[in-house]
């Protein structure tokens, strides 16, 4: 009798021992869409023993261009359940659980705790940050994939003390700032490539083979076939911030995640306010200096260590050379729970000019 997994087992790097590891593994896939379908197809074919599928959505005709587990007979069916049906035909010897529900802060922890590895195949930032935070809190490796038109990103987060998604992109974009596939389109084969890379990372982690993409972000361009791999460092403060919310995690809402806006203020409004601490986050060597105001100088690079020189009683208004670093400063301070901070829209040259005109 030829074994179903013969082509794995005859590889000396895998063997029966490796195949047994696969059959004992438990993998949870978030989203059975463009990425989730190829991930699920290969994990099932490879004989991953326990697979969970979370998706609340139903199969639509416009999904069939890339979501390769479904056919016209699945239209209108829940994706997690339709995928389970197809996958059970592909491999009846493994256990597949369908969760036809939305992933929320309420159900995430209990779900994640039942699995060894999480795969993110979701299609929006709110879910991606939720998946990341729940993976950090439950200490599960997260195999990440995301696509945009003709480009894709792949990484492995929370693996052996490696970085998390927030170490790469600390704050979620505002709602609607970055369009998704349904709004802007995607080359059908692209999530096939990226999802297959995610399945490959899952197998590498379980089998202990090669080097999982931890601490690295692979960027793939389907049009010019260029692949670039960038290094990402672990940010302890980002991970600590997530861990500190462990106890209240189930009470948070997905909507909260993407509504973190940076408060900004124009210099014309600053003049009318009192009880202010004005902070310059430029490096010491940067000019022009502004002589008209009492200013605390804290270069952005030293901000986290200099929280003591920030007055908790005052409203903080922060500026830099152009209004970019000052925004970053506000978001760093927010993460450190220093509230009542505003980023001045204008940069130092405009601020200086404004005061020159004001004071004649």
């Amino acid at each position: 009798m030829t074994n179903r997994y013969n082509r794995h087992i005859i590889l000396s790097e895998i063997g029966q021992e490796g195949q047994d590891k696969l059959s004992k593994a438990k993998v949870l896939v978030i989203g059975a869409g463009g990425l989730g379908c190829p991930v699920l197809q290969y994990l099932t074919a490879a004989g991953i023993g326990h697979i969970g599928i979370v998706d609340f959505d139903v199969v639509e005709i416009s999904n069939l261009q890339r979501q390769v587990l479904f056919g016209t007979a699945s239209l209108g069916e829940n994706k997690a359940e339709a995928a389970k049906k197809r996958l059970e035909d592909l491999n009846g010897s493994i256990s597949i659980m369908a969760y036809p529900e939305k992933l929320t802060h309420k159900n995430a922890m209990a779900l994640f705790n039942q699995y060894d590895i999480i795969v993110d195949g979701s299609d929006n930032f709110a879910t991606r940050y939720l998946v990341n935070d729940a993976s950090v809190i439950t200490n599960k490796p997260l195999v990440f994939g995301a696509v945009y038109k003709f480009e894709g990103q792949v990484s492995v987060f929370n693996y052996n003390n490696g970085p998390s998604y927030r170490c790469l992109f600390p704050t979620p974009p505002k709602k609607g700032a970055v369009p998704n596939c349904s709004e802007i389109g995607v080359l059908g084969v692209l999530p096939g490539i990226i999802g297959t890379m995610q399945a490959n990372e899952v197998l590498k982690i379980i089998l202990g083979l090669g080097e999982p993409l931890s601490g690295k972000l692979l960027c793939y361009n389907a049009l010019n076939s260029q692949t670039i791999t960038l290094s990402i460092n672990r940010s302890s403060s980002e991970i600590e911030t997530v861990l500190s919310k462990k106890e209240s995690f189930h009470t948070q809402s997905v909507e909260e995640i993407c509504d973190i806006e940076i408060d900004t203020i124009s210099i014309t409004e600053v003049v009318n306010r009192t009880n202010l601490q004005i902070i310059d986050v430029r490096e010491i060597h940067e000019t022009p200096k502004i002589e008209y105001l009492e200013i605390t100088s804290i270069p952005l690079s030293k901000l986290e260590q200099s929280v003591d020189s920030i007055d908790p009683e005052k409203q903080k208004v922060i500026f830099c050379q152009s209004g970019i670093r000052s925004k970053r400063a506000v978001s760093i301070l927010k993460a450190l729970e220093v509230n009542n901070c505003y980023s001045i829209v204008e940069g130092a040259p405009e601020i200086k000019e404004f005061y020159q005109e004001l004071l004649g």
């Binding site: 989730g36 945009y148 790469l168 974009p173 972000l217 960038l230 670093r325």
Partner: protein
């Protein structure tokens, strides 16, 4: 120094190119970014991270690299 800048995803749509080279003599990544913003004002509305020689860096990192990449987050799946 001569710097090659690579643009990804939505960023490349704003700049209308995936790559360009320019001569720049600033000290910090933030100074280069301010220069890029002065060329492409609409980039101010985009969120992205910056890599220098294939390594993610912060705004206050010293400019040392030949290759800079502007990397936006993708949501699609």
């Amino acid at each position: 120094m001569l710097i090659t800048i690579k643009y990804f995803g939505q960023i490349a749509e704003v700049t209308q190119k995936e790559e360009e080279s320019l001569e720049f003599s600033g000290v910090l990544i933030s100074e280069l970014l301010e220069h890029i913003y002065s060329k492409y004002n609409a980039l101010k509305n985009e969120g992205f991270q910056i890599a220098q020689n294939q390594e993610l860096v912060s705004l206050e990192t010293k400019l040392s690299g030949k290759e800079i990449a502007l990397l936006p987050p993708f949501a699609g799946g």
